[in-house]
Amino acid sequence: MKSKTAYLTPYFLWIALFVIAPMALILYQSFFSITGHFTFGNYEQYLSSGVYLKMTVNSIWYAFIITVLALLVSYPTAYLINHLKNKQLWLLLIILPTWINLLLKTYAFIGLFSQNGSINDFLRFVGLGSHQILFTDASFIFVATYIEIPFMILPIFNALDELNPSLVNASRDLGASAWQTFRRVIFPLTMPGVKAGVQAVFIPSLSLFMITRLIGGNRVITLGTAIEEHFLVTQNWGMGSTIGVILILAMFVVMFLTRDRKNKGGQIR
């Protein structure tokens, strides 16, 4: 069929040029030193120098904290919104802030957290005195969590929305307490939503370099910050690509761990 190929030509061209080629090039580039010679040196340096490994562990740890915090805030929020009357409208209000440019939201926190900003005003007002908030690890974690929360709420809400309420009723009728119902029925059944949320939050959290720059004040270095640094500041593309390959590997691990195991549902334990 001629038309089949005609339809797909631009699309396949796109896949070849913008999906396969860039990914291949980043792998290729990771084997070149800053002077343009083929080498395994970047990987050796990455694995042997403690700096890179420590940075990677730190980055994963921060992403983990951000994901856990986002989950702790989002699950109850999604659950409660699902019980509201105009739930679609409330959900829209949750999604609306994601439409505001990420840089602007980050910028707002520079004002809120600054030495004379509103948060410090409030702390002084309640008698706690002012503190250095901006350029700390905690401020980075707070802002990153803030940014990611809607992306966690959305999939969890969808999972809760699809949950058949008669299953919950059945559990309660059979004598389970509210907590037991939640732990044994609601939470396991909404696990796909939680996994999708973790995926949507954890991977970006490894690479949010603009927030580490603007809020973390270069104290927090994530994998993303390191890549940006190597590509745009020190111009060491080889090392930057090596860290990029590590980030891609981390992404595959996260996706593998949070994958949907479809035929698990029917099993009897």
Binding site: W99, L103, G111, S241
Partner: protein, 276 residues
């Protein structure tokens, strides 16, 4: 009666979440009307920062750049993505379809820095000059997969009998495409365009990598200004951008509602035909 209490606590919790979600945005908007120059203290009401913004020709040209990139990249991504989705649907082998869809989703799940860095290597490798062209190409590239994901379900929903009927009645391939298939999947195409448009407007990281020197978009400009500290012109800009986002969301919501209604209307009409 027993449930009265927890509900009130839960409302308080939701209220708190919404306050935290909206506080930074409202804070930005309030200070855009500040007569002073800081985000510390309001010294009075003024339109001063808006006047500065409207007189800032550099900022206005950047806004125009951003909008042009968004409109163009979304348009081209929608065309490539729609035909891609039509092509994928025609493929016979299920495994092949799934394979292509996995490739399609690579850019959806990849972190922005990876997309940005790999595109930068790609453009340098090909010798493409960094600037408008590279930014446009990148925005098209990362918008194509979302268009495919929006359009493909609509194609799958469409019944094959309609297409067969068109052919049986003597329509050419082109006529079938433009008169039957495209009208049926229009809501998906619009949704795809809309998502591509917002992806482009929102993007910072990819643009930051491939923009080079002379060319800038809003996100990149806000980043470089924010690194220099507080500038209430940015607040004025963010207020205007918030209003635009509200209009876009409202428009999208209404479009969806309209499509739903049309669907219900059609379903009713066909029901009546069946009844008669």
């Amino acid at each position: 009666m027993k449930r009265d209490h927890p509900i009130r606590w839960s409302n308080l919790y939701l209220l708190l979440v919404f306050i935290v979600l909206y506080l930074p945005i409202i804070y930005l908007i309030i200070y855009s009307f500040n007569a002073g120059d800081t985000m510390d203290r309001i010294t009075g009401f003024s339109w001063r920062h808006y006047l500065t913004l409207f007189a800032d020709t550099r900022m206005i040209s950047i806004v125009l750049n951003t909008v042009i990139i968004a409109v163009l990249s979304a348009l081209l991504a929608t065309i490539i993505g729609t035909f891609g989705a039509l092509g994928i649907d025609q493929l016979k082998k299920r495994s092949l379809q799934n394979g292509i869809l996995s490739l399609n989703n690579v850019l959806m799940v990849s972190p922005d820095v990876i997309i940005g860095a790999s595109f930068l290597i790609f453009f340098t490798f090909l010798g493409v000059k960094l600037g408008f062209g590279s930014v446009l190409l990148s925005h098209i590239a990362f918008s194509v997969p979302i268009v495919v994901l929006m359009v493909l379900p609509k194609i799958k929903d469409m019944s094959q009998t309609m297409i067969d009927a068109a052919y049986d009645l003597g329509a050419t391939k082109w006529q079938t495409l433009t008169r039957v298939i495209l009208p049926a999947i229009t809501p998906g195409i619009f949704a795809g365009y809309f998502m591509a448009f917002t992806y482009s407007l929102d993007d910072f990281a990819v643009t930051f990598f491939v923009t080079g020197n002379g060319f800038s978009t809003l996100s990149v400009e806000i980043y470089s200004r924010a690194r220099q500290g507080i500038d209430l012109e940015v607040n004025a800009l963010s207020t205007l951008m918030f209003l635009v986002s509200l209009l876009l969301v409202g428009g999208y919501y209404l479009l969806n509602r309209y499509n739903e209604k049309k669907k219900i209307h059609r379903a009713k009409a066909s029901q009546e035909v069946d009844d008669a």
